[in-house]
Symmetry: C2
Subunit: 425 residues, 2 copies
Amino acid sequence: MTIPWNRRYAQRMQGVSSSVIRELLKLTQQPDIISFAGGLPAPEIFPVAKFETAAMRVLQEHGAQALQYSPTEGYPPLRQLIADKMRRYGIDATPDNVLITSGSQQALDLIGKVMVNPGDQILTESPTYLGALQAWKAYQAEFVTAPIDANGLCIGDLFEEALRAGPKFMYILPNFQNPSGVTLSMERRLKLVQIADQYGIPIIEDDPYGDLRFEGEHLPPLLALDWQLQASRREAKNGDGLTFGDVIYLGTFSKTLAPGLRLGWIMAPTAVIKKCVTAKQGADLHTSSLTQMIGYEVARDGFLEEHQQVIRRVYRERRDIMLAAMEKYFPPGVQWTHPQGGLFLWVTLPEGLEATAVLEKAIANKVAFVPGTAFYPHDNQGRNTGRFNFSNANPEQIETGIRRLGAVLAKATSALESGPTLELA
Amino acid sequence: MTIPWNRRYAQRMQGVSSSVIRELLKLTQQPDIISFAGGLPAPEIFPVAKFETAAMRVLQEHGAQALQYSPTEGYPPLRQLIADKMRRYGIDATPDNVLITSGSQQALDLIGKVMVNPGDQILTESPTYLGALQAWKAYQAEFVTAPIDANGLCIGDLFEEALRAGPKFMYILPNFQNPSGVTLSMERRLKLVQIADQYGIPIIEDDPYGDLRFEGEHLPPLLALDWQLQASRREAKNGDGLTFGDVIYLGTFSKTLAPGLRLGWIMAPTAVIKKCVTAKQGADLHTSSLTQMIGYEVARDGFLEEHQQVIRRVYRERRDIMLAAMEKYFPPGVQWTHPQGGLFLWVTLPEGLEATAVLEKAIANKVAFVPGTAFYPHDNQGRNTGRFNFSNANPEQIETGIRRLGAVLAKATSALESGPTLELA
């Protein structure tokens, strides 16, 4: 008796489809395509020599430990390093507030597993990181959204309306947001933690790019602002002892060291960490002992901060080249964001121009980006938008790729002006 | 407004508690305890030098690739190596039938995510691997069980009754089962794949220890027997082309190379692999590129098979020492299994003796094991049983630890005989 496998799958998988990005990554493996589609760091500045030294040191001095099972919570020195990193914001974080995850993607999965019942609402920015949507759709979450502008999340009527839907939590990328590249202003950060506290809605703060600011003033994470809010309240009550409030902070080494390690972390109240540890036991027992120890060995003694300077310099140059090339080659009516850091910028095409149709032509012309629709939780939004990555391609490729796209867009926009049907041929 | 975190957790986490094994592993970190509790390989035979060479080679020759994002499916040469490994059973497996997972535990999690609806029944051996129970409880699975004896799963009335409960799948560890150490006989393997086919119930075959047989004849995996069954049926129908049937096979390098890598795999029909890939994208994007490439570099060119010989020799010696020590020190009325491979054996105490109470006394005497109740999906079963690991402690520690336990058990059994109350003091 043979029952087809597709009749055996769980209901939760019905809403989950293979990520557009991952499918596009396959396309970009064609060697002659210039791809702005992925979210890949620049491989030529990976500190490979440093990794060689670190790997040798870890294996020679702690080989048995690096190859053995290890605690689910993570490698203690790495947890300490992360706690120390966050203490610069005046947060009294300890290693007990840190869970090492198999990349930040696992942090999103664990948050979903621990907190989301089927049908629960999650409030996201619109657009938002599609990996989060994918992770949480598997727990049958629903989504309510609030718009963003050049200063990040708009904390206006639409946002308050979304809050009144009673979301389980809100998901915010405050720095150089994926996909838009915009950054939440200081004024809005303060307002956001206050309003989240007022409604009693936790914030999941996802901050993969915060250390990659090229210009302007570094802004404190929401976690730190919430901590200050809790502190002032305790003082007013003459309370003693501080605790974390309602912000869970997600960090990663994928953009500052190397994504191939799969090292991220959750910083949260110890009770939440414990719950996530239980979930992680069932998910993968623990993150690789070897990559945790190598990652720690590379990051320690200030190398992480030192290396971030290299990344910032290189990505800033690439962003500038992309912005200049867009200015030069893109036809009038096309707009784009000017991110102050990170890996991405966001392009808005003239109304009526379909980014997916443009992508098809683009691929035929050996250049790629991600159509914006992938980053919206609901269908048929942002059809004239796209995400462009500027970290992975080198300066020459960026210039060439944007020039090619400029030609595709020029044809498309003139076709758009000349008639109601979109004919790109 | 502060809402306590414990009112925000998802319902699915209510049935999931932190694993007894993981909590016990913490206990065993006390340096003077001899622990038979964990499932840890012998660290002194990790091929550390081989890992050093492999890590250097991977970083020097393919550094950028090893540190970069990589496809969710896994590192192609590693998938090929695994497909080749399974082809020795006459299965026409290709890399497309293989998904690399972050340890075998992630395979269990992905299977749960992809296949289990809340309330779905899963048929397990009783006792069974507790990590599987933990993974699937998070998807709100229910469990039906069938007993095992010295020849593995009993395929009798109780088993057929469990099948008639209509389980989503059955979960079988055919070789040197965790926790019992017993192996499913050839006769029962053949019967099992036939009956599974007859009822149309898929088998999840978990085989972490199959390559660690010390004595007796190596038996083919259920996957291979099911393949033969499908093949004979196709021949009868004059059909062409073979496909996988209803067995999903889980493997791992944790017991044959090193658990600290977190490298496991799922072998399944391509449609199932694709579904699991989608789930894995949301779970952790992909398994560490670095550990996959290092793992492949170590395993290739026959080293895996060569190293397994070392492991088998060492574990066989340790098993023999544990069996001899039990014979020597354990009081009459205590029974234990004689595994032909793997890492574990199973002890049954006289009826009425509580393994948990014995463990407390044991820890006071600086020796530990896992009470058997942890390995049953339902409460209050196997209260007089325990799992003993013989791979991690060295020969001297095994002798000493079993002697200490013998003394504890002698007191306990004589107390049991002298009266109805269990007084171990």
